[in-house]
């Protein structure tokens, strides 16, 4: 088994991508960290079975994927999922092998995301901050900014799309 310093480097290198991967399978935001923790725990116990440390990311994803599948089979734990049918669909669609090149494969670094947020329009940035930093829903944001909630939702959707594009371009840039 790895020593604490060695394993903390493994966690540091992979926790971000792993948590985003778990979230992408339709796990409720509040439970993502718990499932990530379970995945790291199982990986630690089975560390000797890992061929090479460089494959740890893909291996952790496989473990996390199995843990999410387990969620589907345990009725009392389905509350961890946004919707069990949605997770079934996303699991079926998610290739079991690692697929490089997506923004989340590199983890989403806070600094990169911060830079991307700064590139949004003032209004989009204001709405993003209200939604994610102040935890307000679209109706409340609409009240504050005198906008229809549906318009707020549309701005949020497009802002996230712009952020995803921005992060992808940064990931490609970093890889060069």
């Amino acid at each position: 088994m790895p020593e604490i310093n060695e394993y903390s480097e493994v966690v540091r290198a992979h926790h971000s991508g792993l948590r985003y991967f778990i979230r992408s399978l339709g796990v409720q935001s509040a439970w993502v960290d718990d499932i990530a923790q379970e995945a790291f725990l199982l990986a630690y116990k089975k560390w000797d079975e890992l061929d090479e440390a460089t494959n740890a990311g893909a291996w952790l994803r496989t473990i996390a994927r199995n843990l999410v599948m387990n969620e589907l089979s345990k009725t009392h734990r389905r509350q961890r999922l946004i919707d069990e049918n949605l997770t079934t669909l996303l699991l079926d669609a998610e290739p079991e092998t690692d697929r490089p090149g997506r923004a989340e494969d590199h983890g989403i670094r806070n600094r990169a995301l911060g830079e991307c947020i700064e590139q949004l329009s003032d209004r989009s940035r204001e709405i993003i901050r209200a939604r994610y930093f102040d935890d307000r829903n679209s109706s409340e944001i609409g009240d504050d900014l005198k906008m229809q909630p549906a318009t707020v939702r549309k701005v949020l959707f497009h802002a996230r799309q712009l952020l995803a594009d921005c992060l992808r371009s940064k990931a490609i840039h970093d890889a060069l």
Binding site: H15, S24, V32
Partner: protein
């Protein structure tokens, strides 16, 4: 690029605000369109990244605490390991604290505590978790950003500004700040003293702002929410619409409508209201009173139980109190003459509960034995009619309406009853539990339990 309808559905799903029918349509679209699936996954990921963005150093805290916890459990023997995993799942809310302890013990990160204290969200109060029987199973600091999704049991949060909130599982709630929390689903009761006026509870379809009161909120998975006022005044807002709601009234907000009147029906809050009021548990013949306004509480009757009825809160202690019990021990015929005098202290705020047997119609003697545990030590217990009368003006919900000399004489605990019908009140060593033994007949039996509010 996804269709506008899909975008709207995805956005509502991310806000936990999508109806079942729309969800089914979204799922069908996701199933049929791989590109839409990819787009949806990306939105899930970006939304999570944005939520984490608020605290840049959170990631490092996660790494350190998780590593310590994993290694602590991973080095146990196989059976202990499995047990550890099960413990962690069942008591998941303890995991961070265990992790922190493990990191400190294993890695000797001397600076970690300092680091964590400087980066953890600020504490906004104290939170206790109780099981379905009212037994306290965890105590911890309540912190801004804390998100809980209990399947069952209860949470009681006492904010530093004095607001008290009780939540019943299943629920999904998030503490935002000392003055604001979100209730995504479930039900809660809140009580706010003057120092907490302006406290808000936000649901998917409405926001309640306290204006000096005790209120209940319940919200359904659809986002539809009920707001009910047990005492005082609240303001409910939805979009541009705002309504003030007074004691004994209720309103409902929903996606498809504005703020609508609702029948005042407090029974769904029969578990959270006592908890917000300070009653942790009861047993035997003693039960918490059903929730209601002060007027309703003052006339509650039951042939079969002894009720614990919350009375006035935040009462200035500006008049002295005579009480038979002010510490651990019993009041019984053996010490019927015992009396203590508590001098006034206007710096203190008090509150009280009436423990009352008030039959609708009984003409026989009946024995009641049970106890109630409060969230704080009891300061004084008034057991006999004359001491109840003397404290009514300060604490009672309503006037004691039966003014006949006979009724007033037998109003309190009867310490001169025949020995085969003894009455007794006992305060536990920790001064939190009051046990009663009543042998009551046609008249009511009351005692008043007084506690320090602040």
């Amino acid at each position: 690029m996804s269709a506008p309808q899909h975008q709207e559905w995805i956005e509502r799903l991310l806000e936990n605000d999508l109806g079942e029918s729309d969800k089914e349509q979204l799922l069908a679209a996701l199933k049929a369109d791989p590109q839409l699936r990819e787009e949806f996954s990306s939105h899930l990921i970006i939304s999570d990244a944005l939520a984490r963005q608020a605290d840049e150093r959170q990631d490092e805290t996660f790494v350190r605490s998780l590593t310590g916890h994993v290694i602590s459990l991973g080095r146990e023997d196989e059976n202990a390991f499995v047990g550890g995993v099960e413990r962690r799942i069942v008591f998941r809310r303890w995991s961070r604290r265990l992790a922190i302890a493990a990191v400190i013990a294993l890695a000797g990160f001397g600076s970690f505590l300092v680091y964590r204290q400087s980066t953890a969200p600020p504490a906004v109060g104290q939170m206790i978790e109780l099981d379905g029987h009212g037994k306290v199973i965890a105590r911890r600091e309540a912190r801004g950003g804390s998100h809980q999704v209990p399947k069952d049991g209860f949470f009681r949060i006492r904010f530093d500004n004095g607001a008290v909130v009780a939540i019943e599982g299943p629920a999904d709630f998030r503490i935002e700040s000392p003055k604001r929390m979100h209730l995504h689903s479930g039900k809660l009761n809140a009580w706010c003293p003057e120092t907490a006026h302006g406290f808000q509870v936000v649901t998917a379809t409405g926001t309640v702002t306290d204006l000096g009161t005790s209120f209940g909120v319940s919200t359904e998975a659809s986002g539809a929410s009920n707001f009910l006022v047990l005492d005082g005044l609240i303001e409910v807002s939805r979009g541009k619409e705002t309504r003030r709601v007074t004691e004994g009234n209720a309103v409902r907000t929903a996606d498809t409508s504005g703020i609508a009147d609702l029948d005042f029906e407090p029974e769904p809050f029969s578990r959270t209201w006592p908890l917000a009021s300070g009653i942790l548990s009861t047993s035997g013949s003693v039960v918490p009173a059903s929730p209601g306004t002060a007027e309703q509480l003052s006339v509650l009757e039951s042939d079969d139980t002894v009720m614990v009825i919350p009375e006035k809160r935040n009462v200035i202690f500006d008049q002295s109190i005579d009480a038979e019990l002010i510490g651990p021990g019993s009041l019984s015929p053996k010490n019927a003459e015992q009396l203590h005098h508590l001098p006034a202290d206007p710096e203190m705020r008090l509150r009280s509960f009436l423990i009352r047997y008030n039959p609708k119609q009984r003409f026989d003697f009946r024995r009641f034995d049970g106890e109630v545990t409060f969230d704080r030590p009891v300061m004084a217990i008034c057991g006999q009619g004359k001491y109840l009368d003397a404290t009514d003006a300060a604490f009672a919900n309503g006037a004691y309406t039966d003014v006949s000399e006979y009724a007033r004489r037998f109003r309190g605990i009867d310490l001169d009853q025949p020995s085969k019908f003894p009455e007794e009140v006992t305060l536990s060593e920790d001064r939190r539990t009051v046990r009663i033994l009543f042998n009551a007949g046609v008249s009511s039996d009351d005692i008043r339990v007084i506690l320090e509010e602040n």
